[in-house]
Homo-oligomer: 163 residues x 2
DNA sequence: GTGCCCATGTAATCTGTTACATGATTAG
DNA sequence: CTAATCATGTAACAGATTACATGGGCAC
């Protein structure tokens, strides 16, 4: 199961029956934009999940567009549990564009480096304010917001020590 | 420029002239395993960089294997600077398998959830001990280690609040 | 009835993964 | 000499991205 497939099952599990389009919207507006929510990723991923009988689709009446209400099957919930409990994968570092760049910033000319660090601090503080201003009603989003705030603080702390 | 291409330029910039094989080793033993360092990724990426004249290859004498010493060109350094100063990309959240799973952990049966959280704490503390035990001689690795330690602490703090 | 969003998908392309292939060098 | 490692690459494949295509529902 790919990360995207696991994430989709999680959305269906937390959000109840919804259409593939609605799943896309969740990714499109998500705080952690790990995926673009592009149709070319979401629809094939859902098709794979359906083929593997991990997701079931119930046709909605009075919709000529063939909109389906998707729900995880019992096997889908079990597979998702396994994915959730995969300690090795869950504990992995993931990919972080900040961490990838940070080791090389010392190679920049000093003036450029100072400008960059100032711009990064400004951007991170802007993000932090935006997150803080947002309501965290949905339980899943609240967790992501909390972890994202911690990430922002980590980066800000590190940046301010580099000034 | 892809993240991998940027990272490769960074390795060449920080590590001095080295072969494509040596670049691979850096990724293979790297603390932040964002990439596997697979030959099928590294060699094509370096080929792209060479084609774009961002990396130059000097043949080493007395090596029948055609080993080349790779160095960033002036254009390569400029492109790398741009990549380093891309505030939007650097400030992005990246992808985090922990953050992807965390919102769904509340859906697990309570007993399973407690077991998982305990296993995750153990794994993170093991990782933290391993990082602490490692020497951080190389400047680039030291930065990554520092950011990884902060990431581990964030996750541990969050997990311990969930117990 | 004309736009605009809803809703589903496909096609071309890019990049990374695993696995394989090939040959040079060096340690025992 | 033989085995392990150094060193470079390719092939088949999987998954994500952008862009495109198609058509239903609804507001004005």
């Amino acid at each position: 199961m790919t990360e995207l497939e696991g994430a989709i099952l999680g959305v269906l599990r937390r959000g109840g029956a919804m259409s593939a389009y609605a799943v896309r919207q969740v990714f499109l507006v998500s705080q952690s934009d790990e995926w673009s929510g592009s149709a070319g990723a979401v629809y094939p991923a859902i098709a794979r999940l359906q083929k593997a009988k991990l997701v079931a689709a119930a046709a909605q009446k009075a919709d000529g567009r063939g909109t389906k209400a998707l729900t995880p099957t019992r096997a889908g919930l079990a597979a998702h549990d396994d994915w959730l409990c995969d300690v090795v994968r869950a504990a992995g570092p993931g990919s972080d564009p900040f961490r990838t760049r940070a080791p090389s910033w010392s190679k920049l000319p000093a003036a450029q480096r100072r400008t960059l660090i100032a711009a990064l601090i400004e951007e991170m503080e802007r993000q932090r304010a935006a997150v803080r201003a947002n309501p965290l009603d949905d339980s899943g989003d609240a967790v992501i917001q909390e972890l994202n705030l911690a990430l922002l603080d980590t980066r800000l702390n590190w940046l301010k020590r580099q000034r």
